[in-house]
Symmetry: C2
Subunit: 341 residues, 2 copies
């Protein structure tokens, strides 16, 4: 049975939504892994099954606390998530970590790196760590991260942490899928700070200064107050929430409980204000349109007739020989003619 | 002739791309206004003509300096643009101002308000002011702002200022169409500052503290240094550019020439680094895909068979009864079946 499952995990033809839903509900991590593989699959044969699976589990989804986290390389992201996750396990939570890296080219194998660096968490019975190779489109992130979040919830993980690598591409999309966005920074040369992509700071619901230990304590409090000042100039997305800047040491495991307290406080604020329900509804609608858009564009990109035109048209547009609208009309006109054939 | 033109301006059926291209090239502001109306039109009959017009003028486009500006209500946006514009006219430039307000519901008639408050500029021979009712989609902003920018360039305006109202919706889209983004702030209660939507500060290539006059001087320099500090924590989009924070008084007309000098410096940087060409190419490609996406989604929204399903499906998805993917498949399946009929 074990073995069979293992082989089935690679052999995507063997997926069975019904059996899978039962196993996922039961919290079977291997079944969860296979369910996520199914949900992530671009194979047309899997689409119907994936939808059947997700819809069967829909009633069990939406219950987890969903913190998103991001930070520049070197701030100790994975050390923090490991410490944070282990703390939550100690509190009786079941913790799933989805590591999103749409730019694997740029950031190398950072996810597997993270996963191996999170080895305590990876070995824990009540934890689940999964790289999430989110495509480059919002639709891609929605499908390859949104569905895995839902599946983790259905599998009984009540805290689902979505980690992004801080290169700015996926953070915006991910922030649309989580309840709260944690920005992790650390003292050190100004370089680390400068490494934060513009736009990410703006997403933060909580700024977390890691490495608040040893010789770095002073630098940590300096950075913390700098960020406090910077954030005071930005309007919070929620009228009922002021973005806190908190210090912690993932290494020394200090300050962690305060961060969890802030996450829970934020969640209570979202729920009390009705913003959580409103957000989830909005997220679902956005995902719907992202899915539709991605599917329509994929059709255009894959249809032999139009696919052939695209590179040339893009070049014509980029070089300013044809206006974007003219190029769009050519492409759409062509695909319509084919449709009518 | 005058009268005829005026009536034609409202009677969209009378558009003639060829005649219009000639008149626009000649810098005729009334023809420019009609050309923009044509470009903005959603009427299918106008699409082909609009494309013909834009493509005919394509060689004359892309030459202007394109600053985008934004700021919260009350910072003196329109006063600044009027003073800035009048200064540029004095320097021999021809200045066009496109005021984008996609959220007219929220910000009221601010644009017409702006326009009437910019009366000196509105009356000037060498200036052109135009509200730009950009839709709510990137495609909308691209079409309703990108094309007008190009048309203004073809009409010989060498500075095209795109003003947004600072509510955060259109700024991102607009920042993809301009060369440089000016964030206008002003001293006063913290409220004004808090009024800046998160995400807008991140877009700024230049932060401009207005109302640096009279009793507000001290407050202005305090805010300037606060922003300088905040911005030092954010990585600039261009390695060769550090976002400056400059003070001016639109009312007293002081500090204006320094701001223009910064705009020109930024433009030289963009050109020297080759970033300008690269940006324009990227903008054109993004506009192409925005146009395509908008057209495809419009089809889906307008097709009787699918249009009828959408509201119900959106509700089902929002209430969590159906997953976004399932809803997307239903909608796309339906439209495909219709296509094959």
């Amino acid at each position: 049975m074990e073995v069979e499952r293992r082989s089935a995990e690679t052999d995507t033809a063997k997926f069975d939504a019904g059996e899978m839903a039962v196993a996922v509900r039961a919290g079977d991590r291997r079944a969860l892994a296979r369910a996520i593989t199914l949900a992530e699959s671009d194979h047309p044969d899997h689409a119907a099954e994936a939808v059947a699976l997700i819809d069967a589990l829909l009633p069990e989804t939406g219950g987890a606390i969903r913190p998103g986290s991001s930070g520049a390389p070197g701030v100790g992201k994975s050390t923090f998530i490991e410490t944070f996750g282990m703390y939550l396990l100690g509190q009786g939570h079941r913790v799933a970590v989805l590591a999103v890296d749409p730019t694997s080219r740029r950031s190398g194998g950072s996810i597997l790196g993270d996963k191996t660096r999170m080895d305590r968490l990876a070995r824990a019975e009540q934890a689940f760590i999964r790289p999430s190779p989110a495509g480059n489109t919002l639709g891609g992130v929605a499908r390859r991260t949104g569905d895995p979040i839902a599946l983790c919830e259905a599998a009984g993980f009540d805290v689902v942490i979505v980690e992004t690598v801080g290169v700015g591409q996926s953070e915006t999309a991910v922030s649309g899928l989580v309840d709260m966005f944690l920005l992790i920074i650390a003292p050190g040369g100004g370089d680390e700070l400068q490494g934060i992509k513009r736009g990410i700071v703006e997403l933060a619901d909580l700024v977390l200064v890691n490495k608040n230990d040893g010789d770095l304590r002073d630098a940590a409090s300096r950075i913390a107050s700098e960020y406090q000042g910077a954030l005071s100039l930005l309007r919070s997305d929620s009228p009922d929430w002021t973005v806190p800047v908190m210090r912690c040491s993932a290494l020394k495991e200090t300050g962690i409980e305060n961060i969890w307290a802030a996450v829970e406080r934020h969640r209570e604020m979202l729920t009390a204000s009705g913003e959580k329900a409103h957000r989830r509804a909005r997220q679902a609608k956005e995902t719907l349109w992202a899915e539709i858009t991605e599917a329509l564009l994929a059709e255009l990109r894959d249809a032999p007739s139009t696919a052939a035109m695209i590179p040339a048209l893009e070049t014509e547009v980029a070089t300013g020989n044809v206006s974007p609208r003219a190029a769009a009309q050519q492409l759409l006109g062509k695909s319509k003619r084919d449709g009518n054939d």
